[in-house]
């Protein structure tokens, strides 16, 4: 090739892997993604939807039973006052973090591959936070008094204790939900306009039109829109790190051995991202296959996410080992006892070994390229991670409390059927919301995917040298200045 001869001074840059396979056109992308919403759903959708609705009903039943009978229908007894409910809360809120990581952090670091998965991941975030919020709300015991959490004047003239990590959590989680919803909605606006423009007049067009806000795709709008999107990404990035840090403060600021650790915030955040990515893949691998989105969610996307799971899983493994090391090295007998009970002599060591194998050993398979490219292996590892992350929270929360400072009050925690069915029910609720999302909203950000196609670069082929990226050679210096306008 003559290009290599001419480019002897400039180092050759390899072509990047395309983000959309088979040279798909703009209208192909529109048709394929809008088609999911516009056509009849495949039988599998109904096969999943009906049980999800039934499980949601089970969840509603369990909560109704809890309200009508009392919070004692859950298995919490002294000293284990926090058990499955708080475990489930931390589990679900953690799932959400991958969505924000994809939509915000990968946006700020200009990872263009995020465009194919960010919409579904953000939806997952919102639905997961909805599931998470249910548990602390019912955990307070009298759910109809839950408005006492809001900082509004009340007849008792007592304000919330703003110095308490539990109240920090109220603010962190509600802010997280609101900001994620705003971010998601803002991203949806141009795609809702696409759906609006394809609909025949009727109720659907009215509703899509209502939420598309009259979007016209003008560059004067895009310009502000992109600024807004970047600002939201920049706001969400510290937010997502803060949310799970604040969740970890619920434990770390206490003086319970096994909880009172400074490593908790980064350890929780890494764990949240780890578990969240596993859930993204759990949802997206079937979606990709069922709806024929293989050209948009390519092996490269799966590969990248598997690598993030490997990285964060290894960070989590480091945190586990560091906890053990500090328990030994701090020479604090209570801390050492807490970890001996967790891993060796306690009544719930099985949970500790589940946690360790699922979270630390299973993802190590992703060092091998073949494993990252085999969807079945990826799916199985993700299932292990999903389970492992639940066990992690169970180990931290319930098993630590089983052996409190006073041996006289030791008790092994046993979950009741209400605990189990409520948790199962939230999976149904989560799946139901996700399936409705697939049914009514574009699962992939249409506009954003179009923006990363090679033909979307206005300077494509300006430098026809193969192997060199256009953006590496782009120079806007002469175009920055608009010519003065004649008066």
């Amino acid at each position: 090739m003559d290009a290599s001869a001419t480019a002897s001074n400039t180092p050759r840059i390899l072509d990047r892997e395309p983000l959309v396979l088979n040279n798909r056109s703009y209208s192909w992308i529109t048709n394929r993604i809008c088609g999911i919403v516009e056509n009849k759903q495949p039988a599998l959708w109904w096969i999943l939807f009906v049980p999800s609705v039934l499980l949601t009903g089970l969840m509603v039943f369990c909560f109704t039973y809890l309200i009508s009978t009392g919070v004692g229908v859950w298995g919490q007894k002294q000293p284990v006052a926090w058990a499955w409910d708080i475990t489930n809360f931390v589990f679900w809120i953690g799932i959400g973090h991958a969505g924000t990581l994809i939509s915000a952090i990968l946006f700020l670091t200009r990872q263009k591959w995020r465009t194919s998965v960010n919409r579904a991941a953000e939806a997952m975030t919102i639905f997961a936070v909805m599931c998470a919020g249910l548990f602390p709300a019912f955990h307070v015991g009298r759910v109809w008094m839950v408005w006492f959490l809001a900082p509004i004047p009340n007849a008792n003239a007592i304000w919330q204790n703003f110095k308490s990590p539990l109240l920090w959590d109220v603010f962190a989680v509600s802010t997280y939900f609101s900001v994620s919803a705003v971010f998601w909605f803002l991203g949806l606006v141009p795609d809702l306009a696409t759906l609006r423009d394809r609909c025949r007049p009727g109720l659907k067009k009215f509703l899509y039109g209502l939420f598309a806000l009259g979007w016209r795709g003008g560059n004067r709008h895009w310009s502000h829109y992109e600024t807004a999107y970047m600002l939201l990404a920049a706001l969400s990035t510290p937010l997502v790190l803060s949310v799970h840090s604040v969740v970890s403060f619920d434990f770390a600021t206490s003086i319970v051995p096994g909880w009172h650790t400074t490593i908790f915030p980064p350890y929780f955040v890494a764990g949240a991202i780890f578990g969240g990515f596993a859930m993204v893949l759990t949802l997206m691998l079937p979606v990709r296959r069922i709806y024929g989105l293989d050209d948009l969610i390519t092996p490269k996307h799966v590969d990248n996410m598997a690598k993030i799971i490997l990285l964060t899983g290894t960070i989590v493994g480091y945190a586990y080992c560091m906890e053990l090391f500090v328990a030994y090295y701090s020479a604090n007998p209570y801390e050492a006892a807490a970890f001996t009970l967790r891993g060796l002599t306690g009544p719930s060591t099985w949970a500790y070994y589940w946690m360790f194998s699922c979270n630390v050993f299973a993802p190590q398979l992703f060092w091998i390229r073949w494993c990252r490219h085999n969807v079945w292996v990826v799916m199985i590892v993700c299932m292990f991670v999903n389970a492992g992350m639940w066990f992690e929270r169970y180990v931290i929360i319930a098993t630590t409390l089983e052996r409190h400072m006073t041996p006289g009050s030791w008790r092994v925690y046993e979950a009741t059927w209400v605990d189990k069915y409520t948790f199962l029910g939230t999976f149904g609720f989560f799946m139901m919301l996700f399936l409705l999302f697939l049914r009514f909203l574009p699962v992939i950000a249409i506009g954003e995917v179009k923006g990363v196609l090679p033909q979307s670069n206005p300077h494509k082929d300006d430098h026809a040298e193969p192997g060199i990226q256009e953006e590496d050679l782009m120079d806007y210096s002469d175009r920055h200045v608009a010519k003065p306008v004649a008066a």
Binding site: Y26, S27, T30, P151, P153, A157, I158, W159, Q160, N161, F162, K163, W168, F171, A172, T175, V179, V182, L186, P190, R196, D197, L213, G214, W215, R216, G217, G218, N219, R220, H221, W222, S223, H224, E226, T227, A228, L231, L235, P238, L239, S242, V246, F249, G447, E448, K450, G451, Q455, S456, N457, P458, H459, K460, Y476, R479, A482, K483, V485, A486
Partner: protein
């Protein structure tokens, strides 16, 4: 027979590709037009420069929104939980909220308990900034808007799929039926259409 009055909104021209649209925008910019826009299914990198757009003022709004959030959180927390306001001679503020301070956890009730207030201050900063971003954006771009003359054009619906358009509005001082049309033709525009709005 219809007797509806029509008002000219402007000229709409279609372009084949991002590249053509980009160069057309440079043409229109250099011809000195002010009231015009390009419409595309996705934001085009570098188009602001090609159009000569100023950068968005949104960050200024968002900064103010964020500061408001921080201030509200600080005020709420210190008024209800500390004696800070009485110490600086503004005790009447604390009278307004009529409250018993929550003296728990062995934490001080003066301003030095501030670090415990940081998480809520941080979260409210983010919350207010995010909502300012959304509403500031909508204010800047003049949406939501139920209808727009451009939607009268049958062709324009393609903007959200694979159509690239330039629209020069009639209220631009340089707009003229012939001059504007020939400029768009010269720039390579296709399906040039005079968009009229019923009044």
């Amino acid at each position: 027979m219809s007797t509806t009055l029509k008002r000219v909104h402007g000229y709409l021209a279609e372009f084949d590709s991002v590249k053509d649209l980009y160069h057309a925008a440079e043409h229109v910019r250099d011809a000195g037009y002010q009231r015009w826009d390009v419409h595309s299914p996705f934001p085009i990198h570098g188009m602001d420069e090609a159009m000569g757009n100023p950068s968005s003022k949104l960050p200024v709004f968002v900064f103010c929104g964020g500061i408001t959030g921080t201030t509200i959180a600080f005020t709420l927390e210190t008024i209800t939980q500390t004696n800070f306001w009485s110490h600086i001679g503004l005790g009447f503020l604390q009278k307004i909220v009529e409250t018993y301070p929550t003296v728990v956890q062995g934490k001080p009730t003066d301003i030095w308990t501030l670090p415990a207030f940081f998480p809520v201050m941080f979260e409210l900063t983010i919350l207010f900034s995010a909502f300012t971003t959304l509403f500031g954006l909508l204010a800047l771009i003049g949406l939501p808007r139920w209808n727009h003359p451009l939607f009268v054009s049958k062709n324009f619906g393609k903007f959200s799929d694979d159509g690239f358009f330039v629209c020069i509005e009639a209220r631009d001082p340089k707009f003229s039926q012939e001059g504007t049309k020939s400029l768009l033709e010269k720039a390579g525009g296709k399906n040039i259409e005079l968009v009229e709005d019923e009044i």
